[in-house]
Symmetry: D2
């Protein structure tokens, strides 16, 4: 039986610990947020309402304590300058996201930001 004091590395027991569950939950939120909203038409004018809706929608999910979505307005503006349209589709390069999860006393902080041209979702910290 896993306990909070048990080795959580996965070598001695297959049953997940609370910290691992918390990380799994955090991952679910990130995948949900990204794939629910990727492709949404976005402009400088509509960026704010979309960011708020993304935050509040994902905060509904279990164990999710806080979601912060910032639209990188400079990147969005640059993307729109070259084009014929006044909007584009939401994709990871326009976003900075933090998602916090709490599960059975374990607090997990996760972030998405661009790295080498890819939106990278990272597990920042896992604390009890």
């Amino acid at each position: 039986m896993p306990t909070d004091d048990a080795d959580d590395a996965g070598d001695s027991s297959a049953a997940p610990t609370d910290a691992q569950q918390a990380c799994f939950e955090a991952g679910i939120k990130f995948g949900s947020l990204y794939h629910q909203f990727a492709g949404t038409p976005i402009s400088l004018e509509s960026a704010d309402s979309l960011a708020r809706a993304m935050e509040e929608a994902i905060e509904n999910q279990p164990h999710c304590t806080d979601v912060t979505v910032n639209v990188r307005t400079d990147v969005l503006e640059a993307a729109l300058e070259g084009g014929a349209a006044e909007y584009t589709e939401l994709t990871g390069r326009f976003l900075e996201v933090e998602i916090d999860v709490a599960y059975e006393g374990v607090e997990v902080v996760t972030r998405m930001a661009m790295e080498d041209g890819y939106p990278l979702m990272r597990l920042e910290s896992v604390r009890r």
Copy 2:
């Protein structure tokens, strides 16, 4: 060559008229709105921000003059009462939507509402 005065019923010419183009554009907006946002986690608290984001996102699309999204709070409340969670997934039965399109002088009004248990998207009027 199609003109605004031509018979638009499709029997004499295959080339679409402005009114038909306007109706096609209105359909695109409806399909976009529905399939972009269906499945989004929604609660009584987050319903407003989602409705605003849906409106502003789709209003970005070409020829779209107005989008109004009302969440049917009573239906949402009823759906949440029976369940174990405080949120559910967005689907058509929680929504009333009006989308207006203007294309080359033709104004199209479209609506989605429940009919026989299905969310029906309807072309309400096509006016010049």
Copy 3:
């Protein structure tokens, strides 16, 4: 009352004709296809199964007689060459799509292809 012989241009009557309804239906299918699947992880290996699923999913919708989705493999290959990952997200520039709709004897052919860097959805023909 609109009839098939009536002027369909929208100036004499607000009630939509069958041809206009058919165009509205065709638009719904296009918006649905695009916004349901935009953002899906796609690679050269998975392109075929995604294209088939898109076709069969949208063919379920009312009045939809045929959907053909071609993945532009050369464009996808070029997009993957520069990057660090072996997959990317589905977006319009990787697609050529034809959607056919039949409504009350009116046949509508619609296509999506790139134009000036944007995926343009076009009403090709409306025939009785």
Copy 4:
């Protein structure tokens, strides 16, 4: 510095271990799969192609070794019997999903199945 031997429960160090990272990655895949495809039109005829596309799409994602999607045909059939249409929208009650992830020697098995009327995503095992 976290090592594979370190206590992974999150109390002594905030830096995530490999097992926690593996669980985070598994969660991302599950959230992605669900929110990318929820809402897709599905019938008994199109269920197979959708299931295959879901598997292959998510298998593209980093560290994902296997995805198995089974459509619960009996539940889908029952849902379609009562209705006027021959298709419905994909939601969790029609699905059984297993997603396997391998990250730095840690293997994670996750499953989604219905529990009390909700599609529950579960971390099944975490092994080194």
